[in-house]
Amino acid sequence: MSFQIPIGPQHPALKEPVGVRVTVDGEIIREADLRLGYNHRGVEKLAEQKTWTQNIYLMERICGICSHSHATCYVQGVEKLMEIEPPKRGLYIRILVSELERVHSHLLWLGVAGHEAGFDSFFMYVWRDREIVMDILETISGNRVHYAINAIGGVRRDLDELQIKHILDSLEVLRQRSAYYEKLGTTEPSFVARLAGVGYLSREDAIELCAVGPTLRASGVPMDVRKDDPYAVYDEVPFEVCTADSCDVLGRTVVRIKELLQSYNIIEFLLKNLPAGPISVRAPRRAKPNEVVSRYEAPRGENIHYIKSNGSDKPERLKVRAPTLANYAATIKMLKNGFIADVPLIFAAIDPCICCAERSVAIVDARTAQERIVTMSSLRELSLKTAKHQARKREAEWPL
């Protein structure tokens, strides 16, 4: 007997609304379908109404966990448009906050994976140690989330000796705790039994379905924007790309823990080799007409911003391709032939940031293969017109 279970849009397993509709046969999933758009806020349209400086704060608020990645990707693009080069110290501080954000995001993910698997003690311990990172970020930038440390042309705040020493001391504590979590997360029998063999994505599938980030690297493909297309100071900083070969959720956990340890090394290198000098250069108010693509390795994968300017002080078009959007197709493939009990884990393994991925909808007409972008108001009128003519159903079903 097969019936369809909706997971979402409101569900305790999901941190943000997304509609996953799985067709199950007992406990095994046969088909999966994703419904998006519940979190669409019109960020790209709003960005066209605000100046270059105001947009930094708008881009930050696309996401709470990876806020610095969106702001930095945008600022890198705008600096290329305005043809200004930020000073070395500014770049070092920017990348320091990037790596701290990667640490906090991976620790958050570890806790969430523990919570989805029911391992609440692990969740509480990891998040207690994440507080150390949040406190460091609060001391550097003035806020725990939405750091707003970027300005066009560099950064806004400087580091002093006391803060550097505080960060280096906290790094020691974090390294020790992370080594313990690595041992625990990969050897606790009930936890590993939930993670191993779940959400299998072969190497060929991962490349073909354009997966990004740890989802891709856990299938053995060593692709990382920091190595393939180095931006800021990544060509000077020594680090390794972390991969795993097991192609399942356990592999993704291992990749993230290895990246955590790599980030500690990068942070230590940056702090010990921080150059002296100014932290920013002055940016003009307008940018020349041009277009630019900016890539960045967010904790979840590759983040792409496309910015087009037309000579005024506001962008003409801003397009965001967040990493979670690229991982959706791979998720559908992973969900098939799994158990219902694994749905939260598989979904959490791609580290979903639904609000990063909600952008406008393109409707493709199946018969004529024509594309059109539809505004919300015309969709609403269309739906009201169609609904008026249909009889009210007592048990409505989702039309698949």
Binding site: Q54, R61, E138, L184, A283
Partner: protein, 131 residues
């Protein structure tokens, strides 16, 4: 079986102080550079309107009350403010500053707005301005 890997650590925590604090009866201190709400020092403001232009949330409103006597009125809409401190960076004379209050929620929007009436100061702006 490796079931006992976690148990000693768990039992050790029975005797440690908890990591959480009993808010609101106990509060943690915020660092000195914390970005709270913006406020104006009216003696040094030159009413250049740079903060009004750069605010992403349109939370600063400067109106002229008396043109001849150079009197201005500034309203900071703290309910719209996103606490980004761009106004502090844009201000050429350091008249805008941030405090470090974070418990600013209220039942009424109108109570959250702050107002100043001031006369425009005659102060030389600093040589380099932060962008």
């Amino acid at each position: 079986m490796k079931l006992g890997v976690f148990i000693p650590e768990l039992l050790r925590h029975l005797f440690k102080k908890p990591a959480t604090v009993d808010y609101p009866f106990q509060k943690l201190a915020v660092p000195p550079d914390f970005r709270g709400s913006p406020y104006l020092q009216p003696e040094i403001c030159i009413a250049c309107r740079a903060c009004e232009r750069d605010c992403p949330a349109e939370a600063i409103e400067i109106t002229v009350t008396n043109e001849a006597e150079k009197k201005f009125n500034m309203v900071i809409h703290n309910d719209r403010c996103i606490h980004c401190a761009q106004c502090v960076d844009s201000c050429p004379t350091d008249a805008m500053q941030m405090d470090n209050l974070f418990e600013i929620s209220d039942y009424n929007r109108q109570d959250m707005k702050k107002r100043w009436d001031f006369v425009r100061a005659v102060v030389k702006p600093k040589a380099e301005t932060k962008s």
